[in-house]
């Protein structure tokens, strides 16, 4: 019995989620959009601040990459 087929043997390919919901710019009124946008930006900014090391130059130096491909 081949157990590998479940990844492909499906007929229910779903496109991405419909254009509604939190952070959605396509649905709802302008007011809702603005509120959602503000919430996204505020939460996002907190996460950004938590992520920054405080010494970005040292971080970049420590993580420098050489040529790829």
């Amino acid at each position: 019995m081949n157990t590998t087929t479940s990844l492909r043997e499906r007929t229910d390919h779903q496109p991405p989620p419909p254009a509604t919901g939190a952070g959605d710019a396509g649905g709802g009124g302008l007011e809702a959009l603005a509120q959602e946008g503000a919430a996204f930006l505020a939460a996002g900014h907190d996460i950004i601040n938590a992520a920054l090391s405080g010494d970005s130059q040292a971080f970049l130096e420590a993580n420098r990459q050489r040529g790829g491909e």
Binding site: T3, T4, T5, S6, L7, R8, E9, R10, D12, H13, Q14, P15, P16, P17, A19, G21, A22, G23, D24, A25, G26, L33, G37, F40, L41, A43, G44, H45, I47, I48, A50, A51, L52, S53, S56, Q57, F59, L60, E61, A62, N63, R64, Q65, R66, G67, G68, E69
Partner: protein, 826 residues
Amino acid sequence: MKRRDRIMANRLLGIETEYGFSQNPGGNPEADMGDIGQELINLAMARYPFLPAGQGHGIFLGNGARFYIDCGAHPEFCTPEVDNPWDIVCYTDAGAELLQGLANELAWAQVGPGLRLFRCNVDYLTGATWACHENYGHRANPLGLPRQIVPHLVSRIIYTGAGGLNPFSPGMEFCLSPRVYHLDRVTSTSSTESRGIFHLKDESLSARGWHRLHVLCGDSLCSQLGTWLKAGTTALVVALVDGGFQPGQSVGLQDPVRAMRRFNRDVTLRSTAELLNGRRLTALDLQWHYLRFVQEHLGHPCLPDWAEAVCTAWQEMLERLARGPAGARTRIDWAIKHALYLEHLRHRQVSPDELTAFNEDMRRLRPSADLSDEPAGGFDSARVPAGAGVPVPPGRTIALSNAQRHKLQQLRTELCELEVRFGQLGPQGLFAALDQAGLLQHRLTDVTSERVRQALREPPASGRARLRGRAIQQLHGRGGHLCDWHAVWPESKETLLDLSDPLQQEMPSWTPRPLPARASAPDDIEQRFDFLKSEYERGNFEQAFSSLGEITTSPAWPTPSFVSQYHSMMALVQCRRGFFPAAIASLNARAQTRLNSISSVYEHVAIHRFQGLIPGDDIWEWIRLGDALLDQHPEPESAQAFGFREHKACALLHRGQLDEAKILLRQVLAENGRRRTHPRMYALAAADLGEVYRRLGEPDLARTCLDDAERLQTDAMALGDLSEFTLLNLAKLESASGDVSCFLNRAEAIQLDANNRMGLVRTHILRARLLRRQVDAGETRDRILALREQLPSLHACPLCAKILHRWDDWCAGRTLPEGGDAFWGM
């Protein structure tokens, strides 16, 4: 039946993702990243079913994917071939999960302080770029593809861009895809320099008429939706071309590179680019054109069954983007970054005028590598490039104080840190944290965590990747088998599991291994000579040797002029194969050998140049004769005269007369540089000059020459010279084992493909010295000895004998007591 009616919808696609990586704080700054990368491979081999890659390096996994360490010590995960974009996302994410899991385990095992892995595309400090290549199988004429697909590749960045800063600007110029600044031409053969929007590489890795479109202008993305759209839309455009349609015919761009850069810097998506027909369209217009084209052909047999689902999401994305970046700010990489970075600047109280003044200041101080006639970009979405059909609002020019400029420079550095952290794998990553907080809408409903975990272990359900995965799972642990995209075979090479048909569904039986596939030789004797010369120049010396044998069966054989040509070619082929005595015999066999012309002397010089690992001493007798002839009858225009002087310079180099070699090589390059009539010899001279500079202690000049040689040899497909000399000389210049490994692996892959045993010996010898911690010295020596047994040239080569005799010294990196070159003259 028209061609388009018989085109099948099934085509395979795949993605190769290179990851940046570094050690966590506390790591050993002296640690070799190549060694750490190898630890990842070793751990993967201990945790997952695998077979070693038969050509190149790394391993194939039980899910059909390939995992290896690429240039710059970047771990690279290549998905197995799949037939739909959902599986692309599944396997791409599985690759990220594999790597993060291995890195975690290394940390737990206390192998150093642990690793950080990144999905990034550019390094803002070093100017390096690494990325995410896409592969699309098709049966269309590859020459017809660029015209049809380039406008799509140029304009799709509005949803496939990773977002970030212009890496060549010291200012803060936001762009949709930083990697676009690394693309400087429409088409290219190289993927490591002079990158083009369309990669001309057509290495199918398949039989039955399949080609493989290799796209290298794309970004590595965090958003599942972004990756899905990137693969899905591009696969549909390729499918239409494969079906005989011309989706890009009416939207050909006047200047695709300039158009891509213009689109890239404008987050309002209002910039236009000129078409060949004189119209101007935005990137959105171009994408609408392609979308409508696909929609008009939905249901056509050339399109897959998932085409409609992609079109639905494609249309929704374009509608969102038409409303500006905010329309997609929770869904795709560049729009997420743009929103958050802009918010960060707002919190730091940076005004649009300050930003504009800063960018203009920075441009004045350090002109960007961007097109010089384009204005600086920025974050301000109201400011778009001039000449793009949209007026530039009159910005206020303000003078920045030193304090303001310093603050903005620090902010730029912070944004660069955020750029790196955005794509960091694991929960510490910025994108992952945003996702974890429920702020994003990028996930596909069909790609669950469970499916991703399954994809880590299991191959796709169709195509040859399923068969490869099954074979690997069955053969894993038994030892003695190798794998590649097109086949699995035992090390004895006696049999083969042929997977060259990418769509095959049934497991084939093991069959006796056929001779390597090759183009069929033409019937006409002149064409046969042309064919074998081209094989020789490509470095397929064994193939050229075989073709020479077939020439003697031609009806025109033995016409005297052909006999002479035959012996000349045989001599060159034999010496490159490692059969120097046979080469001498071929020259001696010519009925009328005239030693009063530079062409006949050149042949002798040539075969002595390739006599062993280095030129033989007897070459000087012929060089003296050639010098005398050229004094009497200068022939600056002839290929033989050019080649003679190149070989002479090589002999000078190996005799340690570096200054004389340098002068001669510079002369022949300058003379030929004006005409470029002998590109292969020109490239060989550039490679030799690189080696001269290395020995003179001028590594930068050496690298410049060798880069030039590499580009020319790649373009001219002079793969024998590339693999035996240029790549090996480049490896000698590197100190990081990852870079050394990259050059040696490339050389070895070419040599294995051509069964170039002389080349393989050179590569093995250098690998033992340069990567001594990664190779089994005893095993390598055995391999060299076995090859030497087959090759009379090596049997008689004093340098080969010396290296083998003092093998431990060689592998330990010791110099000779008598001094001389660090590589003993290799």
